[in-house]
């Protein structure tokens, strides 16, 4: 084709313009063009004219992996005279996940053919960490990825799943790390999940001892002979005090560094410096694994062990945040360090702000952060500390009254779309010859959008600010994934003999008798189940797309055929796939993707 143009003496710009002229107006596609500001305007708060769904829809969008029509109905049937009263009961029930029957989710998990989820740590160690077959070795993390998706979609314990997601981000590890991946079942099942509504101090110690984190941040190899600061640095910067409390490279005795009373009633330095990282490193030497180390070859089951020998644990005095750790205290050094960090107001503020950011907005009001931080610190020894903290956020006025301050991250967008549309997506490790399995395709698409689970390489976890996920790369690939979701088949995505993941046509037909299948009825229904209301312009635009040249109240025949001739009557043209594409449009609307 190029040779056709080669003989023409025209510039490319002229060529494009002349071609554009020949086929009618096209947009002057350019990222920079007159009249368009080159830098984003500072964020306006509140957003102008934002259409809001009803309160319980908003609250479910924010506290679960996405609104579901029947979940909202069930919420409406809880005891209570008002939305607020019923919401308090919903939150209360969700905070006791063990009391929630989850049979539909459990049966999907049971039927998925997973083989590693019940294995003990020593079994994972010998059967997977010990394997050089990559598929065998990584099967635990691959199954957790599947199970996490299944639970996010189908579990009735939605708040528990959302908080599990939060704490996995907070104590982020790269799931496919060659050493950590084989133990990932242990990390998810025994380290993160049991503590989600428990005590932060307990979770902190469990994470530090976990085989997965030990490998990911090298603590297993930290000894008095060879201290490794990787874990201690991220323990303070990412897990507890946060970079907001880092004073940089400074003398710890610098008088400008503030000191105050912390949660344990004693004074401590309020900002940390590099010496605190090094001293914490020393305090944690000897925290290691039974990993067949040459000194202890018989100890080889992957479990935690503290080694107090002179070449493993640093026996001398340590000073962390102006606290003196007496010599020869062995493992108590580590316990004392975790107590200090978990009771520190810096930690309380850092964690409170992160939690509020997840539920309320990128920059949550300081007044709420302060009150949540106070609760976090006051309850630092309570076994249900995180249950109390989570509850306080979800019952706050700030939670209830804000809307659209966050956007659904890609995994949330995926799960939310399946939840809203009653889809059937049960990812498993089953293979289908050379066919691309639906699980692999979806994982690939959510990875392209930037948020494949347990795939963030750095220890700071996936970003939780809108700027990251409103990028063209993430948003475009999220749309592409959601559009595909309305076409993809179960198990093998392109096998047209298999049922759709989302049965748009079947659900529509089951909802409306043939005589009621008007574009207005159908689009109204799908807006209701996906968005919980019928906002503009989404409703009208989706309606226009579905009806084509029919009237909104004209009955549509749901067929899958060319409507005839070279100039077919569009209202009869491929109505089934048009209906699926209508649902795709609603799923890709701003109202479906904000929370």
């Amino acid at each position: 084709m190029a040779s056709v143009f080669a003989s023409q003496v025209v510039s490319r710009r002229q060529l494009i313009q002349s071609l554009a002229g020949a086929i009618g107006a096209i947009d002057p596609v350019a990222m920079r063009r007159p009249g368009k500001p080159s830098v984003q305007a500072p964020k306006a708060a509140p957003e102008p004219n934002l259409a809001m769904p009803p309160p319980t829809v908003r609250w479910l969008q924010k506290a679960t992996f996405g609104y579901n029509f029947f979940d909202n109905l069930a919420l409406g049937q809880l005891p209570g005279a008002t939305d607020d009263a019923r919401w308090a009961n919903w939150v209360g029930a969700q905070l006791d996940p063990a009391a929630i029957s989850d049979s539909a989710c459990d049966s999907r998990l049971a039927g998925a053919g997973f083989t590693t989820l019940a294995k003990t740590l020593p079994q994972l160690w010998s059967q997977h960490r010990g394997s050089t077959d990559y598929a065998v070795r990584m099967r635990p993390v691959a199954e957790i990825e599947c199970a996490t998706t299944i639970r996010a979609i189908y579990s009735k314990r939605q708040l528990f799943e959302v908080m599990t997601d939060f704490w996995h981000d907070h104590f982020s590890t790269f799931g496919w790390d060659y050493d950590a991946g084989p133990l990932f079942v242990h990390y998810d099942r025994d380290v993160i999940r049991p503590n989600v509504f428990g005590n932060f101090r307990t979770m902190l110690e469990a994470v530090a001892k976990s085989t997965t984190m030990m490998y990911y941040l090298d603590l297993y190899a930290s000894s008095v002979a060879g201290p490794n600061e990787n874990f201690a640095r991220e323990l303070i910067e990412l897990h507890t005090l946060g970079a907001e409390n880092y004073a940089g490279v400074m003398d710890p005795t610098d008088p400008s560094l503030p000191v105050g009373v912390i949660g344990d009633g004693q004074t401590a330095r309020l900002k940390y410096v590099d010496e605190d990282v090094y001293e914490s490193t020393r305090a944690l030497t000897g925290w290691t694994l039974k990993n067949g180390h040459w000194q202890y070859p018989a100890d080889n089951d992957g479990t935690f062990v503290f080694r107090d020998s002179a070449d493993w644990h640093d026996r001398f005095t340590k000073y962390v945040l102006n606290r003196r750790f007496a010599p020869d205290q062995g493992q108590q050094d580590g316990f004392k360090l975790f107590d200090l960090l978990a009771s520190h107001p810096g930690t309380a503020n850092f964690i409170a702000r992160k939690l509020c950011r997840r539920f309320i907005g990128d920059d949550p009001p300081q007044s709420l952060v302060t009150s949540i931080a106070q609760l976090f610190q006051n309850t630092w020894q309570a076994p249900d500390q995180l249950r109390q903290v989570t509850q306080a956020i979800l019952l706050s006025a700030e939670f209830k009254n804000t809307w659209g301050t966050k956007i659904k991250r890609p995994f949330n967008a995926l799960v939310g779309a399946v939840r809203a549309t009653f889809g059937e997506f049960v990812p498993t490790l089953a293979t289908y010859g050379t066919e691309w399995s639906t699980k692999d395709e979806i994982n690939s698409r959510v990875q392209q959008a930037g948020q494949r689970k347990f795939y963030w390489p750095a220890p700071n976890g996936y970003p939780d600010r809108s700027a990251a996920w409103a990028s063209t790369g993430s948003l475009a690939m999220t749309w592409k994934m959601l559009v595909r979701l309305t076409e993809i088949r179960q198990q093998v995505g392109y096998d047209s003999a298999r049922p759709n993941v989302i049965d748009v046509v079947g659900v529509t037909n089951a909802t409306f008798p043939a005589a009621s299948r008007t574009a207005a009825n159908i689009v109204g229904y799908w807006c209701d189940v996906i968005l919980g209301f019928r906002p503009e312009p989404v409703y009208t635009k989706a309606l226009d797309f579905l009806r084509q040249n029919a009237t909104p109240t004209e009955v549509l025949v749901l067929n899958e055929a060319w409507a005839g001739g070279t100039n077919p009557n569009l209202k009869n043209h491929y109505t089934q796939s048009r209906l699926r594409s209508t649902v795709a449009l609603i799923l890709c609307s701003p109202d479906a993707l904000r929370r």
Binding site: M1, A2, S3, F5, V9, V10, S11, R12, L19, I23, I26, V29, M31, R32, S38, V39, Q40, P48, N49, D218, A221, S223, G226, N228, E229, R233, E237, A243, Y246, G248, V249, V277, G404, Q448, G450, P457, A458, S471, T472, G473, S474, L475, A476, M477, W479, K480, V483, R484, T486, P537, K541, L570, H573, Y574, S577, R578, S581, L585, S589, P590
Partner: protein, 454 residues
């Protein structure tokens, strides 16, 4: 059937003819490479161990101190895994980087010694990256330094693609820019995943009944309202429209350049090369290569286990292919208008740790690479590896402000003097002479003009 109408449509929207033409500029009578420069910033995330990428050579006075601090990690002078000598063996490039060595000895790559951010000193990856990319030395902002470069670049009113951030999530240095396209893969960057029957013109199919509209052409109508999220949606739709005509699959690299199909980094460089040759107006691009946080098991090229070397090889092969692809002559001399700067958030501790790794340090190196780089040389000073010469007795001293290197690229190659606007608080810029080009007096920028109220 392929009628005239379809032909025109496929030419404009489907991309066949023009996409091919993108690689054959001469067909349109062009006589020179792009009339503007492109700056590609490669960020090595995790803190790259500069003393392994660019180690003291046999004639370097710091060699003994280096060997003593790095008993197991040192890059050997001879035998298996010997470093590649440059600058009269003052320095050794890592042995897995023969492409970089060739560029260096060919005068197309320079190394900046002791590079980094002088203050605030932070050993946090995330603080250091944010400080450098926002360019504000510890002050928050939400707008990246490259965004401010673009804002003040005095660009023509219409530019197809002024900036690309390769990946799913925008690099912090380009945050806030409405003119940037963030994408991981050009060929995947299109909404063509819907039903066949409604994936129609002006979308991706060429035959459809008159009047039929597809999903992609309906999306803008859903994102038409005011609000920050809707604005982001419209920017995304702009980006999809701009990218749609480009056939990334048809791109054939020039001069025998081979981009490793297994390397995401190389594939993203290939995408950038195609955009540069297509003359889409690309001024700045960012691209990441992660995995440099080697606290443990860094490896050594003298041994079979060489983790760091694997990373270096990916970097070197990718940049080598990129340069070769762009290095045509005459109208195809895109290398002459493309400059690459490679950086990391900090170097690593001089003394290795007991786990075969290195911990967070301070001074690092930067690489500058391109046809307009005065290469084959090192720039900046190296403070030395004796304990008294180190920062806090432990780290390579920062002796060259990374902003000085970037400012020179911005002034001499992008011809934008507003480096004090890009880097608020920065002053006293003088060029090191890394890049060819004309000096302009460095200045801040009057925001009134920057906002287009001239």
């Amino acid at each position: 059937m392929f009628d005239r109408r379809d032909f025109l449509k496929s030419s404009v929207a489907g991309g066949g003819a023009l996409a091919l033409a993108g690689g054959s500029k001469l067909a349109f009578g062009a006589t020179a490479a792009n009339s503007y420069d492109t700056l590609v910033v490669v960020y090595l995330r995790g803190g790259m161990d500069a003393l392994s990428l660019f180690s003291p050579g046999g004639s370097n006075a710091n060699r003994a101190a280096y060997e003593s601090a790095r008993p197991s990690l040192k890059i050997p002078l001879s035998g298996t895994g010997a470093g590649l000598a440059v600058s009269a063996d003052q320095w050794r490039l890592h042995p897995r980087a023969p492409q970089l060595r060739d560029l260096y000895t060919g005068g197309k790559m320079a190394v900046v010694l002791g590079a980094g951010m002088p203050a605030p000193v932070t050993r946090s990856h995330f603080d250091a990256q944010a400080n450098m990319e926002v360019g504000l030395a510890g002050v928050g902002g939400g707008v990246g330094w490259l965004t401010r470069v673009l804002e003040t670049a005095n660009l023509p009113g219409t530019v197809q693609i002024p900036a690309v951030s390769a990946g799913s999530i925008t690099a912090t240095s380009l945050l806030g820019s409405t003119e940037t396209i963030t994408m991981g893969s050009g060929s995947d960057f299109r909404i063509d995943s819907g039903s066949w029957a409604w994936n129609v013109e002006p979308d991706f199919r060429t035959t459809a009944p008159p009047g039929a509209r597809g999903i992609f052409s309906m999306l803008p109508e859903l994102w038409s309202e005011a609000g920050a999220f809707e604005a982001a949606g419209r920017q995304t739709l702009d980006a999809l429209n701009v990218i749609k005509p480009i056939d990334f699959g048809a791109y054939a690299p020039a001069n025998g350049a081979v981009y490793d199909s297994g390397s995401g980094f190389a594939q993203q460089l290939k995408m950038l090369a195609q955009l540069i040759k297509r003359d889409v107006g690309l001024r700045v691009a960012t691209i990441d290569l992660g995995g440099w946080d080697t606290h443990d098991g860094q490896g050594n090229p003298a041994n079979s286990y060489d983790y760091f070397g694997n990373k270096v090889e990916e970097l070197s092969k990718g940049l080598g292919a990129f340069y070769a692809d762009l290095n045509g002559s005459g109208a195809s001399n895109y290398a002459g208008t493309t400059s690459v700067v490679v950086m990391s958030e900090f170097g690593r501790r001089v003394r290795e740790n007991d786990d075969g790794g290195t911990d967070h340090g301070y001074g690092s190196v930067m690489l500058a690479l391109g046809g307009s780089v005065n290469g084959g040389l090192t720039y900046g000073s190296f403070a030395g590896l004796a304990t008294a010469q180190l920062f806090e007795g432990a780290d390579v001293m920062v002796t060259t402000d990374y902003r000085r290197v970037m400012s020179e690229a911005v002034i001499r190659r992008l011809r934008n003097p507003n480096v004090y606007y890009a880097f608020p608080g920065y002053s006293g810029y003088t060029p090191l002479g890394i890049f060819q080009g004309t000096d302009l007096p460095p200045s801040g920028n009057d925001r009134i003009f920057g906002n287009g109220f001239q």
